[in-house]
């Protein structure tokens, strides 16, 4: 009997359940998709070293999943609470008919289980199909072979999803039973809310608060973009964040009053159709939902900036990676080891062995050969030396700009000597790397730098003073700005400065600081390259590495393959976690917004009945409702988008990888599509639900 009642109830209130059901299904599907990553086909096809990265990613996603389960848990309890509240009267009637609390709890229990099971099945079904699409994305990111497509179902992920959601449903049941046991019959029967007293804000105060809030936001925007160089401590970071939060709350607190006031001044717009009603509705509603609107706005802001910036980091990283890894391997070691020196980290005095000192006087190819390395593995070998002149420090380069620079970047080590390379040496490297080569006359020098902030700093300095006097010689900067270029490969632009000097500029042997070698692997296929790669990175059965280790010779290096894998792995982990969190935040905020709106609709049912009675037709009423819900959904999104424009700029400049607008475009489009679909679904479900609610007879 109770079972029948439950089923009938669900059928009857299907439209009420729509939001709840949508949230559950999306939650289950997303949860399954991200937890089934490890068993997806693409993961089976990738290389050994990539798989380690994936393992790391899976374990991180596992931890994130716990957090997400908590968020979803709260969301589900909240959504369920809405449903129970809407049915207070129904439960009241059951109680007057003599049904006990326990039986009512049972009805809800059966409903929860039914909805839970159905949503689990539907959600996993969608998740299984969604994960096939995700597989394609994974394959693209990890460059796995996906020529043979097989359909994958992950039992582990399925079981994990079921367990997590079972726990959440259990929480819902306990919550429901508690709620029901607190109900009093009289409150249940008179639960339909009456038109209530409306709190009206003073319009003047609204306008003042609005202007102050906009000012706060504007200033916060300025701090994180224009004034970003001032942001050098964590405490200073808190200021724009707090200003942003206060500003957002302030805007929502005052916005409706402000708009109302503005539109009221134009009687033509205000006294047209249902405009007056819609505006008053919004004004009244936003007054009661300031905090939730602000939270939703900030959540959307996080979603948008996290999604679009993580996706664009990937794009930027990819294109930079191509440019920054022109050869297969770089090797470098310290030249001219002294008898003793102080370790810059530990402060201990270190006495190198005679063997180490001897080796440091020779080139890298000498070290390789003497330690049993087969030089046939390498081709296109270019070797150069990097010098430092004690008196030519960064501070000296900056010259009169030093004081200003120090004020901006107090952390830089200004007394560090600059790296100096002969221009012909650099041209050898540049030729190998396929980069611009330079020529210098006898009294000229060039600064190479591609690290954004450092470039700006050096450019300023070069504009102020471009002449240096070193060892009695005078050199002028050939260009009054930095040129791009680098010798060491890395995953992004990190060259903070190299100075090119003419070949006839006398560089003493004792100034030699570092030996450098760049080369390609003598191999045609990827497999052969992987084999040679092992001669540098794999410790087992490796003559070179064990010999070097024995003698204590430190030979450092960087290979193209390891750089690409590390960078890809990192960016992929960032992307997956960002998408996971972003989508869940999005679902959470849309669901809360939708439920708020539905609650409002059922509370305001009477107002629509009045509209109908004074002669509004259904079309007009639906239009008023649509506008109201549309504005209600759009306001937090619009402010979040404005926040995000500055947020993304800030993130990108923090990462010193300023992507051009064209890099950003695809990820912004992708973000827009994701948000459009999820937010749109909730918007539609809310509109349908509200339409249904205001049609009901009392």
């Amino acid at each position: 009997m109770l079972f029948k009642l439950s089923i009938k109830n669900m059928k009857k209130s299907f439209k009420d359940y729509a939001i709840y059901f949508l949230t559950l299904v999306l939650g289950v599907a997303i949860f399954y998709m991200f937890n089934s990553l490890d068993s997806q086909q693409a993961m089976l096809e990738v290389s050994e070293s990539t798989r380690d990265m994936i393992k790391l990613m899976i374990s991180m996603l596992g931890m994130v999943s716990v957090f997400i389960a908590i968020v979803l848990g709260f969301l589900i309890v909240y959504a369920n609470n809405f449903l129970v509240n809407r049915r207070k009267r129904e439960f009241g009637i059951y109680m007057t008919l003599g049904m006990g609390r326990r039986q009512i709890s049972k009805i809800i229990l059966i409903e929860t289980i039914l909805v839970g099971i159905i949503s689990l099945i539907v959600g996993i079904f969608i998740g299984v199909f969604g994960s096939q699409f995700m597989s394609i994305l994974v394959a693209k990111l990890f460059q796995a072979d996906m020529s043979e497509f097989t359909f994958v179902f992950s039992k582990d992920a399925c079981i994990k999803t079921c367990i997590y959601f079972a726990v959440m449903y259990l929480a819902v049941m306990i919550f429901n039973t508690l709620t029901i046991s607190r109900y009093k019959l009289i409150n249940l029967l008179t639960a339909v809310r009456k038109n209530e007293k409306v709190k009206i804000k003073n319009p003047i105060i609204s306008i003042i608060v609005f202007l102050i809030s906009v000012g706060l936001l504007g200033y916060a925007y300025y701090i994180v973009t224009g004034g970003i160089y001032e942001l050098n401590t964590e405490e200073k970071m808190l200021v724009p964040i707090l200003m942003g939060i206060v500003g957002t709350i302030g805007v929502f607190w005052s916005l409706s009053g402000f708009i109302l006031r503005m539109i009221q001044t134009s009687k033509k717009i205000y006294l047209k159709g249902t405009n007056m009603f819609v505006l008053r509705q919004l004004n009244n509603k936003i007054n009661t939902t300031v905090i939730s609107m602000s939270v939703i706005c900030l959540m959307l802001f996080m979603t948008i900036s996290v999604l679009s910036s993580s996706l664009s980091i990937q794009t930027t990283m990819d294109s930079e990676l191509q440019e920054m890894t022109p050869v297969d391997v770089n090797l470098y070691k310290t030249a001219n080891l002294p008898q003793s020196y102080e370790d810059s980290y530990t402060g201990q005095t270190i006495y190198p062995t005679q063997e180490q000192i001897e080796d440091s006087k020779h080139s890298i190819s000498y070290t390789l050969k003497t330690n049993g390395y087969d030089m046939n593995n390498l081709k296109d070998v270019v070797e150069i030396s990097v010098y430092t002149i004690p008196e030519w420090t960064l501070q000296y380069s900056l010259g009169s700009y030093y004081e200003q620079a120090k004020a901006q970047f107090s952390m830089l080590m200004y007394d560090l000597p600059e790296e100096i390379i002969k221009v012909s040496d650099y041209n050898k490297i540049a030729e190998l790397y396929g980069q611009e080569q330079y020529s210098l006359s006898d009294d000229e020098y060039i600064v190479l730098c591609d690290f954004d902030n450092m470039t700006e700093l050096r450019n300023e300095a070069l504009k102020q003073n471009s002449t240096v006097e070193i060892e009695g010689k005078t050199l002028h900067a050939k260009y009054n700005e930095c040129k791009s270029g680098f010798i060491e490969m890395s995953a992004s632009y990190v060259n903070t400065g190299i100075i090119l000097v003419p070949d006839n500029f006398e560089l003493k042997e004792e100034w030699k600081e570092e030996e450098f070698l760049a080369a390609n692997y003598n191999a045609k296929t990827d497999e052969e390259k992987e084999e040679i790669e092992k001669t540098f990175v794999e410790a087992e059965n490796n003559a070179l590495l064990s010999n070097l280790d024995q003698k204590g010779i430190e030979l450092e290096g960087m290979t193209k393959i390891s750089l690409i894998e590390a960078s890809k792995g990192l960016s992929t982990i960032i992307i997956f976690i960002a998408i996971y969190l972003g989508v869940i935040f999005l679902i959470a905020s849309s669901a809360i917004l939708a439920l708020k709106q539905l609650t409002e609709s059922s509370d305001n049912k009477q107002r629509y009945t009045i509209l109908r009675k004074i002669g509004c037709d259904e079309k007009m009423i639906n239009q008023a409702l649509f506008r109201q819900i549309f504005i209600f959904f759009m306001l937090p999104l619009a402010l979040a988008i404005i926040h995000s424009i500055f947020g993304i700029k800030f993130i990108l400049s923090m990462l010193a990888a300023l992507a051009s607008p064209s890099d950003l475009l695809p990820s912004v489009i992708a973000t827009a599509v994701i948000i459009g679909i999820i937010y749109g679904l909730y918007f539609l479900a809310t509109y349908m639900g509200s339409k249904n609610i205001i049609k009901e007879e009392d």
Partner: protein, 255 residues
């Protein structure tokens, strides 16, 4: 004088073939322009159904209702809504004012949904407020004003569109006697000085005594009709009470 309202032998049935309820079983009457007509009857007599049919909220099963030469039983959908918006004004027992809007806006809303231009709306609202002596409360919200004032605001909303007929459903039902009297005097003023045609449903004899003519309904049929004529209101009131006693039931009904 022309008929504003002609009700021609209307019937209204509820239910299906096996279980038929006749809410209205053949009622005909006319309302002239500028008349103030009351409809009285016990609960369940069909007076609210009658009002719903006239106000186009409900449809008749048979018969015709002609308002201002237009047969509203033939109208459908949007035309019906348009008709309701433009030709009729409503006053309800529980005021039905929007609590989020000021008195001014509540009155103006009736015009804005007819797409009247803004300048004219402003002028009309002020005019009608003047006539109903509510100018001083125009900027107040419903919760800030008394029941009597609320009903006067509702009346202003009902007549501002210049309807052919104002339909009032138990307008004094939620008012204390003093406010009720004031409101009825307002109705009288509307009727006599502004020429509004009013059709009022009530079960209260005192309220009904303000009308020119009263139609009594019982079991879905017209039971009696009283015309005030040259009577004073007191005399008319006594007559109403007499009919009501009759209406209350025959001796045969008492077991």
């Amino acid at each position: 004088m022309s008929h504003v309202l002609e009700v021609k032998n209307i019937e209204k049935y509820y239910g299906n073939k096996s279980n038929l309820t006749k809410a209205i079983a053949g009622i005909s009457f006319n309302v002239e322009e500028g008349e103030f007509v009351g409809i009285m009857g016990a609960s369940g007599s069909g007076k609210t159904t009658l009002l719903n049919c006239i106000s186009t909220i409900d449809r008749v099963t048979a018969g015709n209702i002609i308002i201002n030469h237009q047969d509203i039983t033939k109208l459908k959908g949007n035309k019906l809504n348009k008709f309701r918006r433009e030709e009729l004004g409503f006053i309800f027992q529980d005021f039905n004012l929007l609590d989020t809007l000021t008195a001014y806006e509540n009155i103006a809303l009736a015009l804005t949904i007819q797409k009247v231009n803004a300048h004219e709306i402003d002028k009309k609202v002020k005019e009608v407020a003047e006539k109903l002596e509510i100018s001083n409360i125009l900027n107040k919200y419903p919760y800030q004003i008394s029941g009597g004032q609320k009903q006067r605001v509702a009346s202003a909303r009902a007549i501002i569109t210049n309807p052919k007929m104002v339909l009032a459903d138990e307008p004094t039902g939620a008012l204390d006697s003093k406010s009720a009297r004031q409101l009825l005097e307002t109705f009288e003023h509307l009727n006599q000085n502004l020429g509004a045609t009013i059709l009022m449903v009530t079960h209260d004899a005192f309220t009904a005594s303000y009308a020119d003519r009263i139609i009594f309904i019982k079991d879905g049929k017209i039971f009696n009709e009283l015309v005030k004529g040259e009577d004073t209101r007191k005399q008319f009131f006594e007559k109403i009470i007499e009919v009501q006693t009759l209406l209350g039931g025959d001796l045969n009904d008492v077991i």
